[in-house]
């Protein structure tokens, strides 16, 4: 039984975490909101006063806004599609009886632990380099002209790099979910003459739906913020500027903090739409 005494002790124990997170959330958020309605350029005259919703309008109507939204959607959507589809296949494969399952599993999840800056550099130089990259050897081996990946198909290249990093995460979560599937159900279906495809579509896939939703939501939050991969490979050139990167350029490169902050507010709204769905799912889980 929780007594009055233990309740107040609990409040004191929780206070530092709650207080710090509150400050961490409110202070930068308020500052961002404040900057977003001002014409603030640190290197050109500093704070030039209140401009209302000007920055918001200018951010949306700039030439780079819609392309950046498109790029963001292509990168997030592409990586999600690849990591979910391949992730399901991989999870099913890894769930089969085999020799050395533990080792294969370690091989498959390894990319998730590689820091984004390293993976971007390794892919950019050692694989996608048009002269000495591994891909160019393969292309030449088959008599084809090597592709200049990062300038000829830059967005696809970034999707490839980011997918490589996130496929392991999807696989790991989906594999964990698949292992909790009752094998008797599958066997019964097999006895009743259900084809492998029918068993997959009517038993495995529905069982995985919750895990897939979680992978989609968590990855989306992280993928919306992809930064290092673009920073290291193209620096936002060749149409690889995502919303995150566009804001970064406005704030730090062109030092237009007001405009960038307005973009930041859009990014916060976008992330929160995703977050609301995530919270629903996680919240439901808490009740159990």
């Amino acid at each position: 039984m929780a007594t009055q005494h233990s309740r107040s002790a609990a409040r004191i124990m929780m206070a530092p975490a709650v207080f710090l997170l509150l400050v961490w959330m409110l202070v930068p958020l308020c500052m961002t909101l404040w900057f977003s309605v001002r014409d603030y350029r640190p290197l050109r005259g500093g704070d030039n006063g209140f401009v209302g919703l000007d920055n918001f309008v200018r951010f949306v109507s700039s030439n780079s806004f819609w392309p950046s939204i498109m790029t963001t959607l292509i990168i997030v959507g592409g990586v999600l599609l690849i990591s979910i589809c391949l992730g399901v296949l991989l999870a099913i494969l890894l769930d089969q009886p085999m020799w050395g399952q533990g080792v294969v599993r370690i091989l498959v999840i390894a990319p998730f632990f590689v820091m984004p800056t390293v993976s971007a550099l390794v892919w950019k130089n050692m694989f996608m380099d048009p002269v000495n990259g591994v891909f160019s050897y393969i292309w030449r081996f088959f008599g084809a002209d090597p592709v200049v990946w990062l300038s000829e198909m830059p967005v696809f290249s970034i999707v490839m790099i980011v997918s490589w990093q996130w496929l392991p995460f999807a696989t790991l979560i989906l594999l964990t979910a698949i292992q909790s599937l009752d094998s008797e159900q599958l066997e019964a279906a097999e006895m009743d003459g259900a084809s492998p495809i029918a068993r997959f579509a009517f038993i495995t896939l529905p069982h995985l739906s919750r895990a897939i939703t979680i992978v989609i939501l968590i990855q989306t939050i992280f993928l919306l913020a992809v930064f290092a991969e673009i920073f290291v490979t193209t620096g936002g050139a060749f149409g690889t500027r995502t919303l995150t990167y566009l804001i970064y350029q406005r704030v730090l490169e062109s030092q237009n903090v007001g405009l960038g902050s307005a973009g930041g507010v859009y990014a916060i709204i976008l992330a929160n739409i995703v977050a609301i769905f995530l919270m629903r799912i996680v919240g439901k889980n808490l009740d159990k």
Partner: protein
Amino acid sequence: MARAVTNNRKALNTALAWLVGLMIFFPILWTILTSFKTEADAIANPPVLFFFDWTLENYREVMERSNYARFLSNSILIAGGSTILGLIIAVPAAWSMAFVPSNRTKDILLWMLSTKMLPAVGVLYPIYLLCIQLGVLDNRFALVVILMLINLPIIVWMLYTYFKEIPGEILEAARMDGAGLKEEILYVLTPMAVPGIASTMLLNFILAWNEAFWTLNLTSVDAAPLTAFIASYSSPEGLFFAKLSAASTMAIAPILILGWFSQKQLVRGLTFGAVK
């Protein structure tokens, strides 16, 4: 009962899985192998996989060229410091939420998680400005605090789910047997909480180690960790495949090994126990 599987099918699964596994692992394997090659071997055409003159020259040169030890110690300090500080703040919070729940516990937990959704780029400039004002730009302690705050919701959640699983009956049984508060904490609760705390530590260390956005933007020289060390190799003049590989291997090896140990906890930590 698992059904009997023919050895043929098992062999086929094994071959296919190993093929796919090696394909996914290949970029890492290739990087590690290249780090032991001479620069000439690294760009040899056709590429050599294993049969080259193995050398440690690249590692020596990377160590000489940049102060690897300082980047490494910054990484360890920042990732370790933020993890420990995070635990100091999160353990009591998660503890009280798990053992003295109130009507608002669930709301507080969800609210904490919601702070994780704040896109870093949206609040970068305010933090940057605060760091300048406080004179802590490129400062290790500032990064310790920032990374701690970024990961705090995850630490609290993970600890909460672990603590929730400690059965209350055990405590009652200990009390019946005459254990005082001190014995209770020391001999009953701590041994049961330690595994959860340890895996939370591991996961947070990994997340903080690999964090690139804040470390790249808020450090330059003094506090730069390995993420920044590696980014310095992105300039064309630093472009030597073997050296880049050696540097990459040095940056990822510690965390790769830690990651393999914590794969189970990773699922739990990152999905907040929603996938079992």
